[in-house]
Amino acid sequence: MDSREAELSRVVGSKIREALDAEAAAGDEIRLGRMRFIDRVTTRQVSHAFERPRAWTVTFRRLSFGMVGAAAAVAAVFVWLRLPISFQIDSDAGPAAIAGNAGDLIEANAVVPTALRFSEGSSIVLERGGQLRVLALESNGARVLVEKGAADVAIAHRHGPGKWRFEAGPVTVDVTGTRFRVDWSPESRSFGIELKEGSVIVGGECLPTPRRVQRGDNLRVSCGTPATSTTAAKMDVAAPAPVAETKPARVVAHRDTHAADVGDWRELVAAGRYAEGVHAAERAGWSRVCRSANAVELLSLADAARLSGETSRAVEALLILRQRFPGTTSAATGAFSLGRLAFEKRGAYTEAARWFATYLDEQPRGPLMGDAVGRLMEARDRAGDHTAARRDAERYLQRFPEGPYAGTARVILAD
């Protein structure tokens, strides 16, 4: 490198590099790129599926437009049916649901549960402190590893039989369409499953043979320590059964068909069993429950309804909350939740903006203020009120220059 070149490299290169590094958008761009990349990776089977028929179309080019159109429609349906399902992770701990990736470890923190919503309608609510991974996604199911804790599972039964498998330690659960609760403790190597609907096949090295578990069954399996393997493990059966001492695992099974019926919705919601809690409240009379619950209970019930996909129930509970407890912090939080539901579940951006503005009017210094301003800005922008959105963006950046909506705010201001 001669001296002139070295000077050019030093001055131009270092200055430009420094200025580029000072740009704040790198993290946002990398995150956005990641989202698009993962989306493309998960859906690329579609493009590959289209590549093969492309060669065919050369052969059939002379066929009538009608026949080609019909073939394309059939191919599209075929591809659509083979599309791997996707899922989103939703929790009160974050500003919005995010796309989930196969293989990632998903943890519900100690305060709020985490819901996984799959594109074909199935859902998993991971309870507080639980950990799981979605190991693989297929067109009609997924393989899920419960690493720790409990999860409420509801598998949708659409487009024919599903192909879902849950794994917890050495135990496997093969599922079609059903609802159940599964739990696994890696410390005690204890597995449990409680069937609410349908049936599943539980297998794995802990059980001598795969076992069908039906609605109302509550199966608990103790797998012993990993080192002892199956030979050292013991098995007891609570109810009389032909398996006694000769079986290598501890299995306790009993039938409790009325468990869900007698459960109090408050206890179920507090235990993170949201779908059950909502159903219990419905059985007890939804309106009556909403009119007797206190403000905090109403917020919990609305959250349970939202997390279990019962949007209209959540909206109803929140509107009653605002009607019964006007002017309280809970009512303001209810306004924020209503805005979030309008934005995320219905794409009703004008309505969402109204609710976020209501929260800010009622709680200008409230704990959700930053999130409310960011969401208000985004809702107004999407609703076409760009002037107000720019104003919100300025307000947001002034207060939270490094906040989670800062990138969006800058884009709005640059447009």
């Binding site: 002139r4 070149e5 000077e7 050019l8 490299s9 030093r10 001055v11 131009v12 290169g13 200055k15 430009i16 590099r17 420094e18 200025a19 580029l20 000072a22 740009e23 704040a24 958008a25 790198a26 761009e29 990398i30 956005l32 790129g33 990641r34 698009r36 990349f37 993962i38 493309r40 990776v41 690329r44 992770i89 939703d90 929790s91 701990a93 974050g94 500003p95 649901a97 995010i98 989930g100 990736n101 196969a102 293989g103 990632d104 470890l105 998903i106 943890e107 519900a108 923190n109 305060v111 709020v112 985490t114 190991l135 693989a136 996604l137 989670p404 800058r410 884009v411 201001l413 640059a414």
Partner: protein
């Protein structure tokens, strides 16, 4: 405040080394693609940003580079060269983008929407204004010369590294560099703000003029 959802999602931790990661990618291990992206996205982003400057299409190009990489993962011979291999793919993606942009400008010459600078943020400092001017200057260079200039002077690569990243011989790279350097210096003189910014700390551009 509790952790955000993103903090609650931990990338798959099966691959500790590049070898394991590439093996996992080749065998279609679930989650390997995400780990691959997370490990190299910053480096690829830096290359794209150096070549293109601020550009709204960088997120798309970023994902495009990784999709191409996964498609060609079988071609990767030396596992210790993942980063430079990705840099080459990024450079090719950036060059294609520059050429696309040039065609678009020509086709939509009279459409302000199509030809306006697509920076996300307005200039708010001298450095940012100078950065914009720099890339406007680089926009006037042919794509291959611009890439040679950027790899050598902004990315700070050695000549052999820059030649490998651009996919050309050392001699070709040197020729392109020489042409790019002359054109860049001549065009900087037409932009007083940029010249002043670059002169801070050196007399290089004025010496070239005399």
């Amino acid at each position: 405040m509790g952790p955000t959802i993103k903090e609650m999602v931990t990338p798959l931790t099966f691959a500790r080394s590049d070898d394991e990661l590439i093996d996992a990618l080749r065998s279609g291990h679930p989650g390997a693609a995400a780990v691959f992206y997370d490990r190299y996205a910053t480096s690829v982003h830096r290359t794209l940003q150096s070549v293109l400057g601020r550009d709204a299409e960088i997120p798309d190009l970023l994902q495009d580079v990784f999709i191409r990489a996964i498609d060609r993962i079988g071609e990767l011979q030396h596992l210790d060269q993942v980063r430079s291999w990705l840099t080459t793919i990024a450079v090719f993606a950036a060059r294609a983008h520059i050429r696309r942009q040039a065609r678009r400008k020509w086709l939509f010459l009279f459409s302000p929407d199509q030809t306006k600078q697509r920076h996300l943020e307005p200039p708010s400092s001298d450095a940012r204004r100078a950065l914009r001017e720099t890339y406007r200057t680089l926009d006037t260079l042919p794509a291959n010369e611009r890439i040679a200039f950027v790899l050598r002077f902004i990315e700070g690569m050695t000549l052999p590294e820059a030649a490998a990243a651009a996919g050309v011989s050392l001699a070709t790279l040197k020729r392109r560099l020489s042409r790019a350097e002359k054109k860049f210096v001549a065009r900087v003189r037409e932009r007083p703000l940029l010249e002043q910014w670059l002169q801070e700390g050196t007399r290089w551009t004025l010496e070239k003029q005399s």
